[in-house]
């Protein structure tokens, strides 16, 4: 097969591409993902108007068209998410983690600065907005402390959707009807847009969790949700992501991973702590070990 057709990549092309994409995102595609990757690369090549893989790939690498890489990332990331996903972790957040954060920081009345929560990756926004809704509806301290919620993702297209915050049935399935009535307005075609107040309260950022330099912008988070992304990384990228998350947290801060993810195989820098609702990881509070 020649590498200049858009109908499927040669093995050599795939290998070159895989290496390149891994270095830029930390995501490792195995041979079993070949079909998925091929189709999306074809879409990118066509959309950008290139005759074939080689021309597109050189433009991509030499980055004389910076949009190419972003289009590719947007095509190749798995963005599936929904409101109140794995919400036993939000139970933990309300029942155990936030009370502990407040206590560690001197109590609701005496804290300096807000409680900071980060959802990374946030995809189309359901995760940070779920946190906002649960805090507003169910946390008895919300009127006594300031809470800052941030969402971040590598994919600019999902962030645009997160900013717009209008969702279909599939994504809203688990949201109680009373919350829907209170916080969402129908915008046609079976979609509902989240209240502007909540949309406005969540700050969105584009970021690569594996990129240490840009992750330096994140500091002093009390709680980070990093769910359902480490599964796409190989060990080395996971390790780097873990280090970067650690740097973004306050000593004693809490990290939630997705239910199929575990830090124990990735890095020893966090201390696991078993809560009634499941495992959560903590950045040790007493300086370095």
């Amino acid at each position: 097969m020649t590498s200049s057709t858009t109908a499927g990549l040669s093995a050599v092309d795939f290998e070159k591409f895989r290496e390149f994409f891994y270095k830029r995102t930390g995501i490792q595609f195995t041979e079993s993902k070949r079909y998925f990757v091929d189709k999306r690369i074809e879409t990118c090549i066509k959309q950008a108007g290139f005759p074939g893989f080689n021309a597109w790939f050189s433009a991509l690498r030499l980055s004389d068209r910076s949009g190419l890489l972003q289009d590719l990332i947007n095509q190749l990331t798995v963005n599936e998410t929904y409101f109140l996903r794995e919400d036993y972790q939000f139970d933990s957040l309300l029942k155990t983690v936030l009370p502990d954060v407040l206590a560690a920081r001197g109590g609701a009345g005496r804290m300096t600065g807000p409680v900071k929560i980060l959802s990374l990756p946030c995809s189309t926004g359901e995760e940070p907005y779920s946190i906002a809704l649960r805090l507003l509806e169910e946390w008895d301290q919300i009127d006594h402390v300031d809470v800052e919620i941030h969402g971040a993702d590598i994919d600019s297209a999902v962030l645009d959707k997160a900013a717009h915050a209008s969702y279909g049935e599939r994504s809203l399935q688990r949201v109680p009807m009373s919350w829907r009535a209170k916080y969402f307005a129908p915008v046609g075609a079976g979609r509902y847009q989240l209240d502007a107040g909540i949309r406005g309260a969540v700050t969105l950022h584009q970021i690569n969790v594996c990129d240490t330099t840009s992750m330096r912008a994140f500091r002093d988070f009390d709680v980070i949700f990093c769910r359902n992304v480490l599964i796409y990384f190989d060990e080395l990228s996971s390790r780097r992501a873990a280090e970067n998350l650690y740097g973004a947290m306050r000593p004693g801060g809490y990290l939630f991973l997705g239910h199929s993810e575990s830090m124990s195989r990735i890095s020893p820098i966090f201390t696991p702590s078993r809560l009634p609702e499941g495992i959560v990881y903590q950045r040790p509070s007493g300086g370095p070990r």
């Binding site: 807000p114 906002a132 805090l135 507003l136 919300i142 009127d143 006594h144 402390v145 300031d146 809470v147 800052e148 919620i149 941030h150 909540i198 406005g200 309260a201 969540v202 700050t203 950022h205 240490t212 330099t213 840009s214 330096r216 912008a217 190989d234 060990e235 080395l236 390790r239 780097r240 280090e243 970067n244 650690y246 740097g247 890095s267 020893p268 820098i269 300086g287 370095p288 070990r289």
Partner: protein
């Protein structure tokens, strides 16, 4: 009180410190600063010798893990060989962290495995089994099987059995039973094998 928005200030997106600054910070008295310098030197080839030189003396394990994270991304023989020296360290934490890092370097580590398997120090061979447990390489299982079959030290054989367990197939049954026969006085090995193959 309640949800508050934080506008992103331009100052928040701090510029990356220069390589020289980061290299200097590797010797900062503050471990957090050393840790960030080690992570910040990701992909900087000229920093490799400096990072390597600090793995052994570093006392804060958070900093050491950061050094190893950055070093492991340089999957070269030079780095693999320099790290492998620490498999012989008396410090258990250091040995283990280095073994973990080596197991994420499938490009360069396979070339040094034959030498490590023959190392005169049986503790190094035990650590080598740990590296092989996680090394994504088609030869890993064969090397582990060789260790189980040939290594004269029971601790090494037990470590290799342990490393092989998650990938155990019916083809390994005889190999494991043989190992138990070779070391009839090692209850731990017997127990491990019995639990695995009955």
């Amino acid at each position: 009180m309640g949800l508050v928005r934080r506008e992103q200030q331009p100052a928040e997106a701090k510029a990356a410190p220069s390589v020289e600054t980061l290299l200097r910070q590797l010797d900062d008295p503050d471990p957090d600063c050393r840790r960030e310098a080690a992570l910040g030197l990701d992909g900087v080839a000229e920093a490799v010798p400096h990072l390597l030189a600090r793995v052994g003396p570093e006392t804060a394990s958070t900093v050491r893990d950061a050094l190893l994270t950055t070093l492991a991304a340089h999957d070269t023989t030079e780095v693999a060989e320099a790290l492998a020296i620490h498999l012989a360290s008396d410090e258990a934490d250091l040995r283990t962290s280095v073994a973990e890092a080596l197991s994420t370097m499938p490009g360069s580590v396979p070339a040094i495995i034959p030498r490590l398997i023959d190392d005169p120090d049986h503790d190094v061979r035990v650590m080598t089994a740990m590296v092989l447990a996680d090394l994504a390489h088609p030869g890993s299982l064969t090397w582990l099987a060789d260790m189980i079959r040939q290594d004269p030290h029971p601790n090494v054989v037990t470590a290799a059995v342990d490393a092989l367990l998650p990938s155990l197939g019916p083809e390994h049954t005889e190999l494991l039973r043989d190992a138990v026969r070779r070391f009839p006085d090692d209850p731990f090995l017997r127990f491990t094998v019995e639990a695995a193959v009955g």
